[in-house]
Symmetry: C2
Subunit: 312 residues, 2 copies
């Protein structure tokens, strides 16, 4: 069975490191990720350069990424203005975050819930005005859905209402994002079902998980249990959320791919070539710590990717 | 639901650090673990002091641990001679490792499979000679059961045969041990079922998992799925197996307890007091790296142990 590992390092990773990676290095890293078999990469975010200078070259990066046939070029957009830039650049997938914690939403996007829903509606209208063949996939992402460092747990009724409003506004999909690293395996199962009950089964297929408290891969297993088919991850575990104090650490792409392949899933990604892409990343961000257990421990003896380990 | 977290740091952890922790410090650490709510601790191993000098004081440590009412005092025994010492000291639980990889068995215990089974039989006979009230629990632990760094995957038929032979020899229980960090969630589910089919459902309730490739807690979730109720873990992730090259890292007690409590399980362990015990450990092993995500990230806002997180 195929599982899509969506690499978010060039966006979620790079926006959280102090250094700005040169544009040429970003292109080389994306090329190496594609060479490893990555089929979807979130390459940047259309936010004002004054806010996140590390991603100021997103339009150029999108254009470069589009030269890779078969790659889904994803970007984050905080509002309709960013979405207009993303559409102009030709991105295949737009993700609009909506923090179910309104406190976090105000801190992160400086918008109330109704204001974010209004942005979603405006973006969907822009997409609807495009020729069908060029319309990108539009995801509304429920961030802080497993709890917020500012508000704590968020009411189920709020989560369901916002999921329904995103779909009604014209999103193709609702993602669940553990911005703060609060998710647990049973909450993953429960909230995926909760959101599906509102948004429809087909509209909920992706999870963005963090490894803040070491539960990232355990939460992936819970997601697999309920039929999730897309998992975000960041090479070397780069990234996190700068507006959620204490939260850090995307799940590590290399470890996720290893686990999935060892479980017999087909990610389409070569672990060896992923290691080569990690070398490209390490060279481009000297001094920046990269995480990952598989990078340290190596592969098991006799490991065969995509084949569930079983005795000979 | 109650889950038993069996702390193996004083045995599996300490045998793998270069320094020998002073006996008084071991006692203080065990006292702190008990104060945190640990109900079972593997306090040492009855092996020749020439082989593992770090555990030379195991008899004295057992006697100290026995002063804690309600604590299950567990020890590792490599053979009947170690078991005799364990029985003389009054340990409540004896674990005899049997590596399903015969190559690893020869390297680790210097015994073939039939020789280990013969030891199990001799130990069971010694236990049967004791008054019923004083008989310890006797576990045969299938080590390298998820694969061996020397042999790779081990045949299912070998695993089943050895599980059956351990039970026939007189073990009360057969444990599964991921000595090498090769386990994956679906292999955990599959092998627990495989061994139960041979040894009986009631005889398979415990897993010893490592976090070598970051899958430790994901494998715990898989174990919970198939009704496992005892998980070994080591404070700070100390330990591993010195005879399995490249293998290292028990799952971290603090992270395991956090995950279980956040999922609504009752471990009986206080996370705050566990942190205090970690301080005792850190002071007793200066310079030794201690691992753990929860120790770094802290607890989620509004976290309530033993209550599955759910929105207010």
């Amino acid at each position: 069975m195929k599982i899509l590992v969506s690499e978010v390092g060039p966006r979620d990773g790079l926006q959280n490191v102090a250094a700005t990676m040169p544009t040429a290095a970003k292109k080389a890293w994306i090329d190496a990720l594609v060479a490893a078999g990555c089929r979807e990469i979130e390459v940047g975010s259309f936010v004002p350069a004054t806010l996140i200078p590390q991603l100021a070259d997103t339009a150029e990066i999108v254009r470069h990424a589009l030269t890779h046939a078969g790659l889904t070029v994803a970007v984050l957009v905080p509002n309709r203005r960013g979405a207009a830039d993303a559409l102009a650049a030709g991105a295949h997938k737009l993700t609009l975050p909506l923090s179910v914690s309104e406190t976090h939403s105000l801190a992160n996007l400086r918008k109330t819930h109704p204001q974010v829903i209004e942005e979603a509606r405006a973006i969907a209208a822009m997409i609807a005005d495009m020729p069908v063949a060029r319309r990108p996939h539009f995801e509304g992402s429920l961030s802080t859905v497993f709890g917020c460092t500012l508000e704590g747990a968020i009411a189920d009724s709020t989560i369901q209402r916002l999921a329904g409003q995103l779909m009604a506004a014209g999103c193709d999909e609702v993602g669940l994002s553990d911005t703060t690293g609060y998710a647990t395996p049973n909450e993953v199962r429960r909230l995926v079902r909760l959101v599906r009950a509102e948004a429809g089964d087909a509209a909920v297929s992706g999870l963005h998980l963090h490894n803040t408290r070491g539960l990232g891969l355990a939460n992936v297993v819970a997601g697999l249990d309920v039929g999730i088919t897309t998992f975000d991850a960041s090479m070397g575990g780069l990234g996190g959320c700068p507006f959620a104090p204490g939260a850090s650490g995307n799940i590590v792409t290399e470890d996720l791919v290893f686990m999935l392949e060892a479980m017999g899933y087909d990610t389409g990604i070569s672990i060896e070539r992923l290691a080569a892409a990690r070398d490209v990343l390490a060279a481009a961000l000297p001094g920046e710590p990269l995480y990952g257990f598989v990078a340290d421990a190596g592969l098991p003896k006799g490991f065969r990717p995509g084949v569930a380990s079983a005795a000979a």
